[in-house]
Symmetry: C2
Subunit: 144 residues, 2 copies
């Protein structure tokens, strides 16, 4: 059911400063820095093995990242796990009594279908689930 | 330099309760549950792709996990990245001015050489580095 860790999302105040650590000191590569007005954030993507680190800098004060940063400071915001079948995963989680943030999957900008599990139901960890569909690539999604 | 995410360490109050979510609801497998008196903790290992989730239950009140739990509650404690050469990694990090918790690598129970970077220097994330050496398996380490 779960294939791999897709990414770890880390909220930072300033991506340029954070890249001094994650890119320059730790030596990770950066594939893209994306403006995400839908999230009120800018995101830097740093691949690492079969996973990625995402550095998330809040841009608007009402963004999730800004609220997290105000409450907890910088740090790990969530982990994202890739699943084969997100509908089945959500049904299984619901059956076990877990609280979901998204009862129905949303579609992200890269064509991924995604849903969050509430951290209250996952021992303090905000878990995002991704399902990638071959017919829904980022390119297809852009052209819709 | 960095090869993959080795594991994500999650502090939980009760491993049995946490396994209801991570094993039974999310469907991850459990390879081992280890008593670790050196850490004052019990750890459950759940492989996921090329990485693992480690559920860490504090056993003694003065353990790192217990202090974390008391301050922050349950949640992600650290991430561990596998590097090719931990000495070189630490030298690079030192050169860039990062604060290290371990100036010199320690050897863990599976033969891994490990060191922690201070979260103050990594934008709120406690980062552990691992280097595995073929000549230092868990078995070799046990027999020393």
């Amino acid at each position: 059911m779960i294939k791999r860790i897709d990414h770890i999302g880390i909220v930072v105040k300033d991506i340029k400063e954070a890249l001094k650590v994650y890119q320059q000191a730790l030596g990770l590569g950066v594939t893209e820095i994306q403006e995400r007005p839908d999230l009120g954030a800018t995101i830097a993507f740093l691949p690492i093995g079969e996973s990625e680190i995402e550095l998330v800098q809040p841009v608007t004060i009402d963004s999730d990242a800004a609220k997290f940063s105000e409450k907890r400071g910088e740090g790990i915001h969530h982990i994202c796990l890739e699943v084969d079948d997100i509908e089945k995963a959500l049904a299984d989680l619901r059956k076990k009594g877990l609280q979901l943030i998204d009862e129905v999957p949303r579609t992200g900008p890269r064509g991924e279908r995604l849903a969050f599990i509430h951290p209250k139901s996952a021992h303090g960890v905000l878990i995002e689930l991704y399902e990638y569909r071959e017919s829904e690539t980022a390119h297809d999604s852009d052209s819709q």
